[in-house]
């Protein structure tokens, strides 16, 4: 095993081993070692993982070039094979550094934060598992292995959102996050299926090598499906609503997963798939549009939130939207740069959020008292004008004609214009948050108490200082936009993330436009924040313009997306499930009355298996009596459209009586159906019954009158009668006696056998066989059985006539 392989395996393996060891400890009831050791193991492994990643990064800088590490053959089936392997290129190394670095800090931070929390071990186990899964995600060298990590982080996210299990809200939030992610995963899976079909493999190298030769439609479809997966994981619209509720988890885990690392997996996916998107320009535009709309949405929502985590979550959504926007423009390096910077400052914000709350305010609601508002309308309007002005550029461009240097498609300008507005909103929201959080709220509740100061030990502050330093570093290097063409970051990423579509390198006009826009926005954001305060919903009605107030309300409720999904998707799906349940029990099977459980009170009260068993056993007799009376059951025998509808095709066999029965049943069933509300099913049943009745009248009654059927039926009836008479008359007393003796012997034998130990075996076997026969007979009248028999019969006819 070479050095690289060892290092790659260690980076992944260390967090995994921590998770395993801590799980074992948890399973033994934490008897092996205590909580201090649990935390220490988690922190040490993560830090070690980070250090090794640093080593790999250093090796990467010294000797550039991607390294592929194959661990073993994962799937090998015919032509299709996938290796479990890692791809270490600049992109994955940057991601590894982000993941392990932020994780190390957050895990260390958590030691203090989670102190004395119930579920301490569970928390650290899941965190270690998360680090492992996230590393698999970013290090994988194929879509399949990436998907393993993808789902792994999903599960960890589920576990951490639902960490506070005493709260129903967190369970619901966890489920919501998981299910919405699964919707996205379906897209990812489909993309993989398509890739398997068209390229025969899932290895990045294989897929990307063939991406240029694939049909355009396929590449576009793959791109869109990958985007669907990314929107789920990265909380983009339309799948983004889970992120706001994901804040139910412990704050450090939110910092790590729902701000810094996990949610950026979608961005990573898009950047990683750049060679595919290069050949799918339409899909790329959709990426940009999704990102822009989400950014706008996130900022608007973030502006109105009243709890600090809600603000941060909305801001995360918006920032991720901006990353998607960059991807959509083909500026993959900018997106990754933004990803790294965002990881630093957002995790910093999350980790300080509890400090701020703890230190300055008593609750999680930093709503300030309203302050005097400056009129800043002109500036806000100016920013909006810049945005709309950009919207007009393509029109202008079309009028002026193609200018030298502009290779952008027209759609890009739409995206760009929306982006400017989104950035404006971002500044706005940040300003407000800062202003509100640090404002003097009066009433003296902002004065830090000595107690609060004491609890803010060095442990809490140290990682914050480190993070602050990193933020400063990020800012320092980011003053020159690090991701733009020609910058050091671009060079570091090398070819793996260099897009070929989008802004031409060094387009001075564009850079200038961006700069002007940003400057304007910075200026106007501050005033805008104050201006928009007028519409806050908390103010009395009529205090501000109605349209803005409505917008404010909508944003406060996160655009009513949750409500929309509940009503438009969840409720109909559940209704469909219930409807199918009724369909299942009423049409395919018997009416619900019989399948409804009627457990006795005694059985329900009995706590244990044995007690229940005994209780039920004692009712056997009663149950048997109840089962023996069939009248109620007779009327559902074979009742359904399924049983009746094939009948018309059957009349060639002259099966008159059966048709009659079917008709009666069908009408009985239709009565039942119309009693129960009818609807379409009832109507169909009525129609079927009418048809069957008509058939009965036409064929059966005529047959009864003068047809062959009538005479045949009469003849057979007479024959049966005679046979029966003869048979009974010939039974003389001796036969009867013999029967009695045989019966007696059987009885005795049965009793002996029974006593000797079969207990009730033979008896119940006999009864069982009897009931089985009864059951079979009953079943023969069953719609599904009849249906299958008829189907077979028909088939036989078809085959025979062929």
């Amino acid at each position: 095993m070479s050095g690289v392989e060892l290092a790659a395996a260690a980076v992944c393996g260390l967090p995994l081993s921590a998770a395993v060891v801590n799980t074992v400890n948890a399973l033994t009831g934490e008897r092996l070692y205590g909580q201090v050791a649990v935390a220490r193991i988690a922190v040490t492994t993560t830090v070690a993982s980070f250090l090794i990643s640093l080593g790999i990064a250093a090796a990467m800088v010294l000797r550039p070039g991607a390294r592929e590490v194959t661990v073993y053959r994962f799937i090998d089936s015919g032509d299709f094979s996938v290796d479990f392997g890692f791809l270490l290129d600049p992109l994955s190394v940057v991601m590894m550094l982000v993941v392990t670095g932020i994780s190390a800090l957050v895990v260390h931070f958590s030691v203090n934060y989670m102190h004395n929390e119930h579920g301490f071990t569970r928390y650290f186990t899941v965190m270690s598992l998360f680090v492992f899964a996230m590393l698999v995600l970013v290090m994988a060298d194929s879509y399949l292995v990436m998907f393993l990590g993808w789902e792994g982080v999903g599960v960890c996210s589920y576990l951490l959102i639902g960490f506070y299990r005493q709260r129903p809200a967190s369970a619901q939030a966890a489920t919501k996050a998981f299910v919405m992610n699964r919707v996205g995963d379906a897209g990812l899976l489909l993309a993989m299926f398509l890739l398997v079909v068209h390229t025969g493999g899932l290895q990045y190298s294989e897929v990307f090598a063939q991406s240029s030769s694939l049909p355009r439609g396929v590449v576009e479809a793959v791109g869109l499906l990958l985007l669907l997966g990314a929107t789920g994981k990265s909380a983009q619209l339309p799948l983004g609503t889970w992120l706001a509720r994901a804040m139910e988890g412990p704050t450090p885990s939110s910092a790590l997963m729902h701000a810094a690392t996990m949610v950026t997996a979608g961005v990573y996916l898009v950047v990683r798939s750049a060679p595919i998107f290069d050949h799918a320009p339409s899909a790329l535009i959709v990426v940009g549009i999704v990102g822009t709309v989400t950014a706008l949405y996130g900022q608007l929502v973030g502006y109105t939130q009243t709890d600090i985590k809600g603000m941060l979550a909305a801001s995360t959504t918006a920032q991720l939207g901006l990353m998607f926007l960059f991807c959509g423009l083909g500026l993959y390096a900018v997106a990754i740069f933004h990803l790294v910077a965002h990881a630093f400052y957002k995790s910093y914000l999350f980790l300080t959020a509890p400090s701020i709350l703890h230190h300055l305010h008593s609750g999680a609601d930093p709503t300030a008292v309203s302050r005097p508002v400056d009129t800043a309308r002109p500036l806000a309007a100016a920013a909006l004008a810049v945005g709309t002005g950009l919207l007009a550029v393509p029109l202008v461009g079309r009028v002026v004609g193609p200018t030298n240097g502009y290779t952008l498609s027209e759609n890009v300008w739409v995206v760009l214009a929306l982006a400017v507005i989104a950035v404006f909103a971002a500044v706005l929201a940040t300003q407000r948050m800062t202003a509100v959080a640090f404002a003097d709220h009066g009433d003296g509740h902002d004065v830090p108490s000595p107690q609060a100061r004491r609890t803010l030990g060095s442990r809490l502050v140290a990682p914050l200082c480190v993070l602050a330093g990193l933020v400063a570093l990020g800012l320092a290097t980011g003053i020159l936009p690090g991701g733009l063409a020609g910058s050091w970051f671009q060079r570091l990423l090398g070819s793996s993330a260099a897009g070929s579509v989008g802004v031409p390198p060094g387009n001075a006009v564009l850079v200038a436009l961006f700069a002007i826009a940003v400057a304007l926005l910075l200026l106007s954001g501050w005033y805008g924040a104050r201006y928009l305060d007028r519409f806050r919903a908390e103010l009395p009605a009529g205090a501000g313009p109605a349209v803005e107030r409505r917008l404010y309300w909508a944003a406060l409720n996160r655009g009513y997306l949750d409500e929309f999904y509940d009503r438009a998707i969840v409720a109909p799906t559940r209704a469909l499930g219930r409807a199918l349940d009724r369909f299942d029990s009423a049409v395919i099977d018997r009416p619900p009355a019989l399948s409804a459980p009627d457990p006795s009170a005694a059985a329900q009260e009995a706590a244990t298996w044995e007690a229940r068993f005994l209780a039920l056993r004692s009712e056997d007799a009663a149950g048997a009596v109840a089962l023996a009376e069939p009248p109620e059951r007779l009327d559902w025998l074979g009742i359904s459209g399924v049983g009746a509808s094939p009948v018309p095709q059957d009349h060639s066999h002259g099966d008159g009586p059966r048709i009659g029965r079917a008709a009666k049943r069908a009408s009985a069933w239709s009565e039942r159906a119309s009693d129960g509300g009818g609807g379409v099913v009832g109507a169909v049943a009525d129609a079927t019954a009418g048809l069957a009745e008509r058939i009965e009248r036409t064929f059966f009654q005529r047959a009864e009158g003068h047809g062959i059927f009538a005479s045949a039926a009469n003849a057979s009836a007479r024959l049966a009668e005679r046979v029966e008479r003869v048979f009974f008359q010939s039974l003389d007393t001796s036969v009867l006696k013999m029967t009695e003796i045989i019966a007696g012997t059987t009885d005795a034998v049965e009793r002996i056998v029974f006593q000797s130990g079969v207990e009730r075996g033979v008896a119940s076997a006999a009864a069982g066989a009897q009931r089985a026969l009864l059951g079979i007979e009953r079943r023969l009248g069953r719609p599904s059985v009849i249906g299958s028999i008829l189907a077979v019969a028909l088939l036989a006819v078809i085959v025979g006539t062929r």
Partner: protein, 456 residues
């Protein structure tokens, strides 16, 4: 298709497969004779243990390097019926799986009834062992009539298990329904098998034969295939179950015994095994003619089962529908009619066997402690039974197709392969892979992590 055989005598020196069938029956008899409950307990667990050990021996001695049928026993030959047993890659894994599940079920029953002296644990073990013998017999037999015999005889212990140890009030009805459905299915299947024998007699002139290898060698005339295909298919479809023949299953699983039958019903995929073993190889023309119908049924079942499962409140019923949903995926894999699809489907069968059995064990534990396991009322379970809940979560993940667990590889496989190789269907796998997940997820969420909540 020409398959060579390796006789059991060459590999282990004794007829090990016959022994696998006979051993549970012998212990069944011993259990009947023995007086002491304690000895009976040891015998029950011991018998199942020895059986499991033997199956492991089969798996270990199995030579993976060859496609031959191994451990073959062949004797008799009355009316074309012969005692012909053998193991190859298709049925190898089912045998240890069956034995393992039997062992677990018996251990569970012994422990659950240890404190009472009803004697029921003994008979429970007997019925379970008999069931095991029938299952293993069906899995290893290469003669269709023998297979059919085991397929039918399995109903007897099942009947007792459901009626005597069922926990729901409607258990008799459920048992009746089970036997009735299976009876009709078996009758159709018998007709199909007899037709197979007849076609052998017609094409070779050697008289009737029901031996799989002989039938394969002789081939079935294409015009006879469709009828036989559907006769056999109906038999297996009822057993599997495949939509729309599934209605017996939720009832049996809800009202049946807590662990025993349920584990086997969900865990041991006898019917889909039959499809893969007999129907597809023997009737390739019909299979390729009707593959689309099978795929439609599979996909319908997948979506239908998942939707129904979403609406269930009883955990056992819920799992029953989830199981129906999974069968659809297996069907899709099998009827892609290529090697990858078979492999994926087979893997999926085994995996879901383990997963489904695991889920039903947990459901059984819950059922025995709290009565009917209503999902909405199980909130906060993790406080009282952390390990149980954790296990449920871990087992539920493959059931919801999460990767890195065994289920996903298989289902990805059986879903992606049909798309790739036949190129005939594109959209069905979507629904297949996306619809089952919410189910177990919802269960474990609503059921374990929180105090009682109304299902979302």
């Amino acid at each position: 298709m020409n398959l060579d055989e390796v006789m059991a005598a060459e590999q282990v020196g004794f007829p090990i497969l016959s022994m696998l069938i006979a051993l549970p029956l012998i212990f069944c008899g011993l259990l009947q004779v023995v007086r002491s409950d304690r000895v009976a307990k040891v015998l029950g667990i011991g018998g199942a243990g020895i059986e499991a050990g033997l199956t492991v021996l089969v798996a270990l001695r199995f030579d993976v390097g060859t496609a031959d049928i191994q451990f073959v026993e062949r004797s008799g030959g009355i009316l074309g019926i012969s005692w012909h047993l053998g193991v190859d890659g298709v049925n190898l894994l089912f045998i240890p799986l069956t034995a393992l599940l039997t062992l677990l079920v018996i251990i569970y029953a012994e422990r659950a009834t240890a404190s009472t002296h009803t004697g029921s644990a003994r008979h429970y073990a007997m019925a379970t062992l008999a069931l095991e013998a029938a299952m293993i017999g069906a899995f290893v037999s290469l003669d269709l009539i023998v297979f059919w015999f085991f397929f039918v005889i399995e109903l007897v212990p099942s009947w007792f298990l459901i009626t005597r140890w069922g926990t729901g009030a409607a258990r008799r009805r459920a048992a009746g329904e089970y036997v009735g459905f299976m009876g009709v299915g078996a009758a159709l299947m018998l007709a199909g098998i007899l037709l197979l024998g007849r076609s052998h007699a017609e094409s070779t002139g050697d008289g009737y034969s029901f031996d799989l290898l002989a039938l394969l060698a002789a081939g079935i005339p294409a015009e006879a295939q469709t009828l036989i295909f559907f006769l056999l298919f109906f038999g297996f479809a009822v057993k599997a179950p495949i939509f729309p023949f599934h209605t017996w299953m939720p009832k049996v699983l809800e009202h049946g015994p807590i662990v025993g039958m349920s584990v086997f019903l969900v865990g041991v995929k006898l019917a889909t095994y039959g499809l893969l073993r007999f129907v597809i190889p023997l009737l390739p023309d019909a299979a390729s003619e009707w593959f689309w119908l099978m795929a439609v049924l599979g996909v319908t079942g997948t979506v239908y089962g998942a939707l129904l499962a979403l609406g269930q409140s009883n955990l056992r019923r819920l799992l029953a529908y989830a199981s129906l949903s999974h069968m659809g995926v297996v069907m899709l894999g099998l009827f892609s009619l290529n090697l990858d699809g078979f492999e994926g489907g087979l893997l999926q069968m085994i995996n879901l066997g383990i997963v489904g059995a695991g889920l039903f064990f947990v459901a059984g534990f819950l059922s025995s402690r709290v009565g009917p396991p209503e999902v909405g009322e199980l909130g906060g379970l993790i406080h009282h039974a952390p390990f149980l809940t954790g296990s449920f979560l871990i087992i539920a993940l493959p059931a919801s197709d999460c990767p890195a667990r065994m289920g996903s590889t298989a289902s990805t496989w059986s879903c992606s392969v049909p798309t790739s190789s036949t190129g005939r269907w594109r959209s069905p796998p979507v629904s297949a892979s996306s619809s089952p997940p919410p189910t177990p997820c919802r269960t474990s969420c609503a059921g374990s992590w929180a105090p009682p909540v109304p299902p979302w």
